[in-house]
Amino acid sequence: MASFWEYANPRKFMATSAFLLPWTAGIAALCLVTGLVWGFFFTPDDFRQGSTVKIIYVHVPSAIMAVNAWMMMLVASLIWVIRRHHVSALAAKAAAPVGLVFTVIALATGALWGQPMWGTWWEWDPRLTSFLILFLFYLGYIALWEAIDNPDSAADLTAVLCLVGSVFAIISRYALVFWNQGLHQGATLSLDAEQNIADVFWYPLVIALAGFGFLFLALVLYRTQTEIRARRLKALIAQERMA
């Protein structure tokens, strides 16, 4: 059994991801189509929320993935800082715009859902606000990557920003609860709740969630491949200049 860290080699990663990419993309498409079609057309309307509840199949998975993408960036940044694996740094870079888009989707679908339910597009509720802050963190992280020429320095500095940002994001989360008690319903999915939501909504939601997860994986694999190719190109150009 090869060591996990071998995949940190760009060549090895390219080969493995080329194999994995069609599968993850395929599973993502399958789960998304199944989950969303099932959720949108074959579940009953909620007795209180009516058909608007169906936005849950996009809203909740994208919100969960928006947070998970940051977590993944945090882990990848730590791997870069500790073990200096370049692919890990590039994976963090690749995940940031994906996480940003998931955050925007979560915010937008939340606004669309909030309008009929709460009568307002936007509310300075802790949960909503923390996603807005997450959005700002993604923006800053991406901007720092773009601003620095030397890719290794950029990887180091964004990793430090990601670590410090994570701490402050968590502090912000609790500060917000202190700041405003909020109007958002409790967590849709929670491990310690006895029953989260009714089974009829639950199964398609889990499938949609898996779909978003695999979609994230596929996009990150694809974007990491692109980043690796860009770095390879950069090395080739530098080589050309030096010769």
Binding site: L139, I148, L157, L161, F168, I171, S172
Partner: protein, 218 residues
């Protein structure tokens, strides 16, 4: 390390703008608010805690990109990095110098600006206490942001983008403390929480800033 601090303070006094600029900004910002929201004292008095905190925060932001930039451009940063002074100490001293030239004057002048905005009388001690306890965190976080972007040309805007989200918890607890003070509610809890953030920032961020400086210098 004290030498670094006294030099930065001397430079701030000599070069002008060090002490005055952020104070002037704070004053102008506060003056502009009534033009934006109207002169009704009831409204002003309601929003005064938030406005004062926001003004102090933006005034701190104004001078962040100069913390390391000048030393970077004239080569001083390279030389300090090869000296016995650890970069962690440099970052801590830079944050302290920034606080003395920016944060401290804001704390001192804030009651006067509170009068302009018709701040409720019981809120004044809380305003001064929360700014005195919170602005060091703003300087420490800002120094970290400045260290990240020291190699970036025209990094001022980038610093704002990186630093402002990190300012959120401090702003929340600071403004909340003053708001509660004005309403005669328990203002000590947010003050203590903000103190915790300040202590944590002061303890950890000089190390993060030094790490960023090391990357930028190599």
């Amino acid at each position: 390390m004290i030498g670094l601090l006294t030099r930065d303070l001397t430079l701030a006094i000599r070069a002008g703008g060090g002490f005055g600029l952020s104070l002037a900004f704070f004053l102008i910002f506060t003056t502009l608010v009534p033009f934006g929201v109207g002169p009704q004292t009831a409204i002003l008095s309601d929003i005064a805690p938030g406005i004062l905190w926001l003004g102090a925060l933006l005034a701190c932001l104004l001078s962040l990109d100069r913390i390391f930039q000048l030393d970077w451009e004239d080569g001083t940063l390279d030389l300090v990095a090869t000296s016995p002074v650890p970069l962690e100490g440099l970052a801590a001293m830079k944050a302290l110098a920034h606080w003395i030239t920016t944060g401290l004057p804001l704390v001192v002048i804030s009651p006067a600006l509170g009068v302009l905005l018709n701040l409720e009388p019981p809120a004044y001690p809380w305003l001064v206490a929360s700014l005195a306890l919170g602005t060091p965190a703003l300087s420490a976080i800002g120094t970290f942001g400045a260290a990240l972007t020291v190699g970036v040309k025209r990094g001022g805007l980038l610093v704002s983008l990186l630093v402002l989200p990190l300012y959120i918890p401090t702003l929340i607890f600071g403004a909340l403390c003053v708001t509660r003070g004005a309403a005669g509610q328990d203002a000590l809890t947010p003050l203590i929480m903000m103190g915790g953030i300040t202590m944590g920032s002061l303890a950890i961020l000089p190390f993060a800033a030094a790490a960023a400086l090391r990357v930028n210098l190599r």
